[in-house]
């Protein structure tokens, strides 16, 4: 249980809020590169601010306040030019820095445009994603975490807007035991109703022990399941929650970053960045595209879609309320990872308020060539076979999933333990 005041401090993300100030120290993915090849603009909501991401005709990316400073029309329908983005309403042109370059209908000798500047933020591209930075200068480096840059991977990117505050989504990642219930027994119930064989579903194994260790980039999460010992990867290696907003999950064959982007206090843009690891014998074209898809969260009847792992998580996150009320919760010993994470957020908020760099703000390019993160190879003692269960994850919505699975042999389709 937390006080309402402490809950507010940890969850609110708008300008001037404590957590909002902390989160402005980080880069956030706001689009896939492929999204801006079909249309030059995308409306973005990030940390309570309404913005427009664009790609100009010279191939540069920019991020501007959504409203044109002229008469507040949206720039989301703007016209891409060589120098920047032009408002479609009266033609005012803005560059990456937010400077007004042209006001076509003002007198030729007018200096009015020189007095106009709109809000503009940095954008950088990495691994098929476009990242935005809304914080103070000098901006930290965009972290080059390994999955964004490793070569031997087939990538696919899924996104969803989840109607829930970012913190409760992150807390889910510090809560190992939900695995055996939400993704174990609940899944078994669904499958039993469909007449499917649920024997040996690896996610249903009971937890004997869970552990959490701080490390340079966040928290390592560990577990020992029935039938395992501390020698197993799930304990000996574990997997990381990267501060402040990313989970890495997977095994030796499929790795995923789950990136939680706070849009505002009550909505989170969720990015699943999945990398299928190519075995040495598999030939995939070097220019094989990174596919992109939207993950639906509700069906035509307004019910959450819960017949896959990530849909089960989304249902649970949203069901807690837009900003879950932590003053009425009842935590037990299995929630110690959540408490550790809350402490870390509070501690880093305090550093941000003092104007200090916070965890995972990188300044040294030499340390940012490739940041290798720990990850189990044999997860749940299921022998690096999570890719076989790709149809039970958000990746089921990838338009090229079957093609990806055809690249990766053997082709068994169930994740079962021998």
């Amino acid at each position: 249980m937390l006080s309402k005041v402490q809950n507010e401090r940890l969850t609110r993300v708008g300008p001037g809020t404590p957590a909002g100030r902390l989160l402005r120290n980080y880069w956030f993915p706001v689009a896939a590169v492929s999204e801006l090849t079909k249309r030059p603009t995308k409306k973005v909501r990030l940390l309570g601010e309404d913005l427009v991401l664009y790609r100009d005709r010279a191939g540069r990316y920019g991020l501007l306040a959504e409203r044109c400073p002229h008469r507040s029309a949206t720039l989301a329908y703007g016209i891409a030019e060589n120098e920047g983005l032009r408002c479609m309403y009266h033609g005012w042109l803005f560059d990456q820095q937010g400077r007004c370059l042209e006001q076509p209908n003002e007198p030729e000798d007018s200096t009015f445009k020189d007095r106009i500047k709109t809000t503009a933020y940095r954008v950088e591209e990495l691994g098929g994603l476009l990242f935005a930075y809304l914080g103070p200068e000098p901006a930290p480096l965009l972290p080059r975490y390994d999955l964004f840059i490793r070569q031997e991977a087939i990538r696919t990117i899924g996104v969803a807007v989840v109607p829930a505050n970012w913190l409760q989504i992150m807390e889910n990642s510090l809560d190992p035991t939900h695995l055996e219930w939400l993704h174990g027994r609940y899944f078994e119930q669904l499958w039993q109703l469909e007449g499917r064989d649920v024997r040996n579903w690896a996610f249903s194994k009971h937890h004997l022990k869970i552990g959490f260790d701080l490390f340079e980039y966040g928290i390592i999460k560990r577990r020992v399941l029935v039938g395992q010992t501390e020698e197993n990867d799930d304990w000996a290696i574990g997997h990381p929650v990267i501060f402040p907003n990313m989970l890495r999950v997977g095994d030796g064959a499929l790795h995923t970053f789950q990136i939680r982007v706070p849009m505002d206090d009550t909505h989170t843009y969720h990015v699943w960045y999945s990398c299928f690891i190519k075995p040495e014998h598999v030939q995939v074209p070097d220019d094989y595209p990174i596919s992109f898809y939207t993950v639906p969260i509700q069906d035509e009847n307004g019910q959450y879609i819960t017949d896959y792992v990530d849909g089960q998580d989304i249902m649970a996150w949203a069901s807690q309320g837009e900003i879950t009320d932590r003053s009425i919760e009842h935590l037990g010993t299995t929630d110690k990872g959540i408490i550790l994470y809350r402490k870390l957020v509070q501690q880093e908020i305090a550093k941000a308020e003092r104007g200090e760099d916070t965890m995972c703000m990188l300044r040294d390019p030499a340390k940012n060539q490739c940041i290798e993160l720990p990850q189990e190879r044999d997860k749940y003692s299921a022998h690096a076979s999570m890719f076989k269960a790709a149809r039970e994850w958000n990746t089921r919505y990838a338009p090229n999933l079957e093609e990806i699975l055809n690249f990766l042999t053997p082709r068994e389709t169930s994740l079962a333990v021998e």
């Binding site: 249980m1 009425i328 110690k336 408490i339 402490k343 501690q347």
Partner: protein
């Protein structure tokens, strides 16, 4: 802490510096371990971090056999 008792908090001050732990900048997070209520504390002022267990009864060690009490 059960419903209806949500205002009662067994810990208020940091054991390290005496600052109010209900300060929004600190962290006072209650959880349960069996019959015990535990308060995880992190103090914004002095960084003291630890857990305080609220005890409702105390069990002493049993006397050795043969000792007359």
């Amino acid at each position: 802490m059960m419903k209806g008792d949500a205002k009662r908090v067994g810990v208020r001050y940091c054991p390290g510096c005496g600052r109010l732990l209900e300060d929004p900048q600190s962290l006072l997070n209650e959880y349960w371990q069996g019959t015990e209520t535990v308060y995880f504390c992190w103090c914004f002022t002095c960084s003291w971090t630890g857990e305080i267990v609220e005890k409702t009864h105390v069990i002493a060690s049993e006397p050795a056999e043969g000792v007359v009490t």
